[in-house]
Amino acid sequence: MTQPAHGATVIALHEQSGQTVGELDLPRNPGLAFDPDCFAGMKINRSATERRATSYGLRRSIKKQQQAAWLLKAISLIDLTTLAGDDTDARVRRLCAKAKQPLSSNLRKQLDMGEWQVSTAAVCVYHDMLGAAQQSLEGSGVHLAAVSTGFPAGLSPLPLRLQEIEYSVAKGADEIDIVISRRQVLEGNWRGLYDEVKAMREACGDAHIKTILATGELGNLTNVAKASMVCMMAGADFIKTSTGKETTNATLPVSLTMVRAIREYLAITGYKVGFKPAGGVSDAKTALLYMTMMKEELGLRWLQPDLFRFGASSLLGDIERQLDHYVSGYYSAAYRHSMG
């Protein structure tokens, strides 16, 4: 399939949603045959990208009730994550409990939420933690994500990486966060990247695949854009910035570059691909900037958990403090909110 690199159709990004809070029926991105024409001409201007990235907070305000609502929405977009060497079943169970019930009943009451339940979108763990997590999340509607494919470096043998996916899917993960081989990008082996991700997508089966680009290791924004496009062509459901383990993780300019690639892919194929910034989104204010970017660049539809996630561990705590401030007028302290 050969399409112009720059789609010439105006996509109505800002269709009125009338959506419910829950998930929507979204056709999965089937991918495209490998076609270098779709990305070969991509060139990203860093200064201009940075200039746009700094504008979201200056051009848009989210305050008071809107802010509370956006922050509740932000909670519903979180992949609550623990990826530490000292993770244990007990630690993961505590995290899952927090994911299911992120807000204290007192805060929920003050927010007048009634029966309205808010939980995080998913819990994201290493493979070995899946058992404990699945037990904890049973029936909660919270998705279970596993990082996979030799996370975070992605340098184990490909058959093992694919097998790892199958193991995790079998263990109950319905979302797999894979890492791409950065060397394929740095060596310009786009076909190799495509083939690997496509194989991973196949290994995922019905589980959704989030492809982690590890953008901090890709050299420049043009590589980020091209890698985004190749992953989407290979069938990614989400493209994700970082493992959280690189020196530089999610930034707004990198995210904007990826989000624009998503828009490009939509223009070419009509398929919506999700975006997940990870690492570096640790406070409510930053989360709102990202959400503003999503709304401005892709529209409201991309503020639903089937198309946008935050990969975060400490973000939730700050959101709780901000919500507490909203209802009380005073700033709260971390110890007043339950640990995740």
Binding site: S47, A48, R52
Partner: protein, 790 residues
Amino acid sequence: MTLMDSFTNLEYSSALESSVEAKQWLAAQEGHFGHFINGSWQSMDGADQMPVTNPATAEQLAIIELASADDVDAAVSAAQAALPAWQKLGGMGRAKVLYALARGLQKHTRLFAVLETLDNGKPIRESRDADVPLAVRHFYHHAGWAKLQEQVLPGYQAVGVVGQIIPWNFPLLMLAWKIAPALAMGNTLVLKPAEQTPLTAMLFAHLCEQAGVPPGVVNIINGAGATGSLLAAHTGVNKVAFTGSTPVGKSIRQATAGQGKKLSLELGGKSAFVVFEDADLDAAVEGIVDAIWFNQGEVCCAGSRLLVQANVEQALIAKLKQRMQTLTHGNPLDKSIDVGAMVSEAQFRRVKSMVTQGLESGGDLYQVTAIDESTNYYPPSLITSVETSHPLVQSEIFGPVLVVMSFRTQAEAVELSNNSVYGLAASVWSENINRALDVAPKLQAGVVWINNHNQFDAACGFGGVKESGYGREGGMEGLYEYLKPAGLQRQPVVTFEARETGSDTLATGAIDHTQKFYIGGKQVRPDAGHSRAVHNTLGEVVEWIGVGNRKDIRNAVGAAVKSHAWSASTGHLRAQILYYMAENLSLRESEWVARLQVMTGQAAHQAEAEFHASLARLFSYAGWADKYDGLVHDVPYRGVTMALPEPKGVIAIVAPEQQPLLSCISLIGPALAMGNRIVLVPSERFANLALDLVQVLETSDIPAGVVNIVTGPRKDLAIHLAGHAEIDGIWCWADTDTVKQVEFTSAEDLKTTWCHDDFDRDWMCDLQGEGREFLRQATEVKNIWAPYGD
């Protein structure tokens, strides 16, 4: 709306900035403003008045008085009286005052920003993030120039009293651009803000009181066009600085003609936004938002002509239309909006009717939101399917309206960009550095942004060419607008006509010598077929020269225009040619010394001195040819801002009578060294001497058409040159009436003028007769902004 509703809709909040403090300040002034003259507020009973309104709400904010001729007199007198003490204060003293003004602005940024938005209708986000910080920066930057002036600008002195007239689109920022450099260089001033938007200037006047600006140094008078005209034409004003429309700029040029004033004009534009196929199109889309939807498009350098390479045109337009869907508008005090109100109902109606009428000539209009008459909101607009001849492509709209055309090749992009009477700014969008750096110098504009648009900084000059005016504001190049050379020594007037007593009879036994014009490298007979005799000091006929007319000028200019390769040649090449010219001239020393004596009546040693000074001057400019470097400005961003001195193009030189060989060489030299082509009109009395130079020019490898000489009635020829639109600048040494006519006529196309009366300097003195002042006049500074980063 419930929390759940907000959760579903995820709408933004409106974030209204409070106008309480601004309203309180206005109330404290009783909503009435006279004039700030000699450090105190002046009000006249029975003065004409005008309301100042908030364009977004039609609410009346204040009343201003309109300055009468007496008020203007009083303000100019105050500025004159304050001048000596202000200059005596010295660089350090003035730096302290400018620093206090910078700090004062910084202390009240919120009040200034809110007042600006109330008055102008621009979004508070822009007044807060652009107008006010840039104004603060301007005062800081120029505090430094005040302190450094003596070290870095020797040989220059303040112009004196400056009259400044500013527009309504960036009221405080334009005030800063005017006042900061004027004060730094030791001038005193009278400033007139636009009658639509005087409020931040009124607040600034209060700040002057607090910051210790001595009375009379800054005078701010209110008024409309009539007051502006009075100020510009006032004989007590030594320099006029104007920012506004091209028609008003032209009328100021005419009104000040022959008054011996310095003049800088920052006028209209129709700046090109050029997108190549290898651009980052998403970046370009945001650039377009900055270019045409910043400040409601009420920006002189707005990128209002989008030129896009044909193979990405549809893709770019699709992206742009998509982007337009998310532009928001509303109360300008709301921090969450992108587009505010037009400055006035009049401007709103003007834009609306221009677009409506323009569309009668064709074009497809795309707007996402509707016009809102009640708030003077005109929506961001995109007009496609238009060609170069379309009125909306040619005229400055000064509103949020973008026209789009496509091009096929880089050469066509340059040609389309330059196909405008304006030449203020342009931007080039390409990820190919070779292409961007090739195109930027070819665009006729004072500012070229590479992969960005509408960026400004105090360290970098801003201003245009062609009918966008002349002069630069900001940076070192901007300081010269408020300086004049120090130490020019007026020379005693010599009336050469008195010697012209002889007949038209050839001396017995002499061979007839008739000199033709020198045009396009050829010796050409006068169009009208008239010649006149040239006499020596004894009254004898030495030779005959042609009498030129308008057609001869046309031919000479045509030849100069064609020889554009000279302007693209290297300084190294031009240096060699100028050395060679000196070499060839030196071979004819005895002949020239004799000729100078017999023509001017100088003693032999004087003629020899003039001849040797001429050789030395050619050597100077051969030296300068590859050394008049540009600057890389220290602008606070990750990038390089290059101030490039570019040749003006075709310069008309109307040469003085005094020291005829030396003065001619002193003017040809810098013009050639900087890569200009020349049409020279020598003094009538010594026209033959200039024509005698032809033999030197012809043997010195100067390409045909680079120097063209037409002789004849100096005033007539000068006026033809002044009105010819293919002349980019005119240098004129002549009598006051000729100078006046030249300056007046130059308003036709707003070419630059550099006019003097004869005998204004001693050409034998290097400080007066050569150097950077001449090179500056031979060039236009183009600032190229090149942000980088991968």
